[in-house]
Amino acid sequence: MSLPGGRAASAPLLGHEIEPTIFELSVAGRSAYQLRTTEIPETALSDFLPREHLKTKSVALAEVSERDLVGHFTRLSHRQFSVDLGAYPLGSCTMKYNPKFCDAVAADPGLNSVHPGVPASLSQGWLELLVSLEDKLCAITGMAAATLQPAAGAAGELTGLLLMRAYHEANGDQRTRVLIPDSAHGTNPASVTLGGYEVTTIPSNDRGLVDLDALKAALGPDVAGIMLTNPNTLGLFEEEIVEIAEAVHEVGGLLYYDGANLNAILGVIRPGDMGFDIVHMNLHKTFATPHGGGGPGAGPVAVSSRLVEFLPGPRAARREGGGYFWSTPDHSIGRVHGWHGNAMVLARALAYIDVHGGEGLTRVAQHAVLNANWLRERLRATLPAAYDRVCMHECVLTATWLKNEYGVRGLDVAKGLLEEGFHSPTVYFPLIVDEALMFEPTETESLQTLESLASSIERIAERAKTDPEGLHHAPQSTPVSRVDEARAARHLIATEDAAAR
């Protein structure tokens, strides 16, 4: 085996100087901007705008030279971990490699300089692209049609719940509850609430799966549907999904698929075939569009045929005989985005899908699952799995024994990993696992990287025995050492002006 490769081995994140804010770099009178010469007569503002609208004092922004602007943001970038620097096994987030080709596609002015309000006749390429993406997402999920408008996963969830609502309402059916397993991601219950439903929480059984009996007990004619992610947030496949689907459908409910974990089943299992009616996808996870430090994402929602008429509009559609146009479904719930969704993210995802094709996507899922299982097995003695069996694309491990024996918590392990040059796993999620550490290696990390990650974790576990205090204070070699989160919430300082006071 060659040397470990996935570590941020050059330790870009070490060091002990802070970077001043841009406001601290500001010097009155300095500037960087350059504008075109227009030769438009330089009339005074007050010549054409009434005084009562005019600001009396300029908005004070930072005043820096272009050189300082570049230095500042380049240095900030050196204070930021990223996929391109090292392995990022953050569970539930699918931090796989983002192909640069897809970014190049999105940088084409032929795509990104098109105004969203131009008539369809001027944006035929875009409409074709959107139709192609919609078709492919439907093929992947086993659904009939999709909206591409939602800007992220949570937006997709809420859109899906509004579709659920529209469907029931069209049937004259007033339903009030949506079921959610206790392992669900936080956005699920929030979306349900905003969708105007009440949440009924379904407990997990001792295998980490939906307790089918509890589910059945909770079902009734007032149940609008259930939201599930499968594999669930424990990385485990809901093996009784067919029974679940039957039970929910039986009472007239719909099944919503939270596609955040779609990476596990791409080309192997389709949500439609499991009985789901509504599926959102996180293109910024499964389809490798980069996450941008917290967005933009894209959360298209695909639905089975009985829900198509409710989809948001306008949607790009193929015209018989050639060409594309915008069309809005008859009983559309309306727009869920100011324009057509995060178009440049959609373009990247389509490029990703086109490169892979069906077979390539299947390989993605297979190797994502392979990597997660290998890591789980490799760490068996160090951090046992919360549920000890084959997992899907991620595994939830627990640091309970380290806490009990040495007082080292999951958080300490996570922070220790930062010092080792890896990003931490997701901690304390899902809530139902004690000292949870959720690892999602993704398919783009190599065996060598996984081995290196596992060794680092072993080193941390060793250190827990001899130097638990050290781990409580980890990380120290990062741009800042352990951050006082409580303090930030106690005295909120959300702007430089608040800081200055």
Binding site: L69, L111, I269, R482, A489
Partner: protein, 454 residues
């Protein structure tokens, strides 16, 4: 077959052996066979990157509305502003592009500090003390504002000026299906909201736009007065660039500012990703949707940044949450911070001034053309609506033939009839002008429109 996997065949085999398996299929053995795909996906085979590039080049070529081909006067919330190479370069640094949400602050100070700087800038240009780390876009930011107002007032009635962008109004209505808010659109007269026509009592929010989507500058003190009398929050939707010359939301006494941040460094991008801006008063801070970055100290007492007040967020309060936003538009927020850093105090004012000046120059010339009249006689910022002697979409098509994207037809934005326009919308065109337009371009627009209409 192209993909981005590192696994050699031997390695896959080796890893399977380690698991006591001999095929990849076995990893899925616990999945009921009935839900497993027998044949694989119904998708074309994978293509290499250069082959896919050729497909995308065809999409690109089919978009005849690219800015390299047309001079742009389209606006309605999406504007053709200068974004310099330096901003694009910095915003595309891969540390920013390929990071996740800053969950581990010790290794995410880059994004966190950039957002802190962004929040400061948005706070200043909104004139309100706190801003969040971004929302999806202007329209969905307004949805959050309306929800915030409901939470603050425990009321559900929302008065929304028809001067708010038609798409935003549509989005608010869509999401009101879930929250059950009552959305009341207040019509415009001569481009200005006819607040007198609405009953403000029990309103949770009074929502106005400044400038409104027709570019008109309405008197916001009237809205403030309504909000005081009704007890509803004053939500001001504003073009963020307006603060370069015009009073801010804070100056007008608004409780909440929402805006579309696209003008702050983001390409037109066929409508997304854009940038939802949100700022509010201290009173509403615990209801602020989305993420917020706060300043704190690290264990060595050095300044550090971290996402904070997460109790407001869905990931903690769960079903009690008033917002479900998780992933937002961070990279656009970082971009906006860079763009505003590039502009600085003076450049920001200058872009706003030049845009307004050019818009007035053009409007003044266009209304001289026989048959062309302004929809409103009120003051405007850098966008204006004109009534043409014939269908706006037809005229726009003729202009495209001359290399001019002459604006947007209000019909395409708002439908044939809309409370923002007296009479039908078909002949109304909305024209936006940015600092990029030269006098020669503006003069040519006038000349060509005159020709097209004659």
């Amino acid at each position: 077959m192209a993909d981005y996997l590192p696994h050699t065949l031997e390695e896959t085999q080796q890893m399977l052996s380690f698991l006591g398996m001999d095929s990849l299929d076995q990893l899925f053995a616990h999945v009921p066979a009935s839900v497993r795909l027998a044949q694989g996906l119904d998708l074309a085979p994978g293509m290499s990157e250069p082959d896919v590039a050729a497909v995308f080049a065809a999409y690109s070529a089919a978009n005849t509305g690219q800015l390299s081909q047309l001079t742009c006067y389209a606006g309605a919330g999406a504007y053709d502003h200068e974004v310099p190479a330096v901003v694009k370069m910095l915003a595309s640094r891969s540390e920013f592009v390929t990071a996740y949400t800053p969950y581990q602050p010790e290794v995410a100070q880059g994004i966190l500090q950039a957002i802190f700087e962004f929040q400061t800038m948005i706070s200043r240009l909104s004139g309100l003390p706190v801003a969040n780390a971004s929302l999806y876009d202007g329209a969905t930011a307004l949805v959050e504002a309306v929800n915030m107002a409901a939470g603050a007032t425990q009321r559900h009635k929302m008065l929304i000026s028809a001067g708010v962008h038609p798409h935003w109004r549509a989005v608010v209505k869509t999401f009101a299906r879930g929250t059950g808010h009552e959305i009341i659109e207040v019509p415009l007269k001569d481009g200005v909201t006819d607040w007198a026509s609405a009953d403000p009592s029990d309103a949770a929010a009074i929502v106005a736009a400044y400038p409104n989507y027709l570019g008109v500058l309405e008197d916001m003190s009237a809205v403030k007065a309504l909000s005081i009398s009704s007890g509803g929050l004053f939500v001001m939707c504003a073009d963020p660039l307006a603060a370069g010359v015009l009073k801010t939301a804070g100056d007008w006494g608004a409780d909440v500012f929402v805006g579309e941040g696209q003008p702050l460094g983001t390409a037109l991008s066929f409508g997304g990703p854009y940038l939802g801006l949100f700022a509010c008063t201290h009173e509403q801070i615990r209801r602020l949707p989305g993420r917020i970055v706060g300043e704190t100290l690290d264990s060595n007492e050095r300044r550090a940044f971290v996402t904070t007040l997460r109790a407001r967020e869905q990931d903690i309060r769960r079903e009690k949450a008033t917002s479900n936003v998780c992933t937002n538009q961070t990279l656009m927020a970082v971009t906006a911070a860079i763009q505003l850093g590039w502009l600085g105090t003076q450049g920001f004012a200058e872009v706003a001034t030049r845009s307004a000046r050019a818009a007035h120059y053009l409007q003044n010339e266009l209304v001289q053309i026989p048959g062309v009249s302004p929809v409103s006689t009120q003051p405007f910022f850098r966008e204006f609506a004109l009534r043409l002697p014939r269908s706006a979409s037809g005229v726009l098509e003729d202009l495209v033939g001359e290399g001019i994207l002459g604006g947007l037809s209000v019909e395409s934005l708002a439908g044939v009839s809309d409370p923002s326009i007296d009479g039908d919308t078909v002949d109304v065109v909305l024209i936006a002008v940015t600092e990029k337009r030269t006098r020669a371009e503006l003069d040519r627009y006038v000349e060509i429109l005159r020709k097209v209409l004659s």
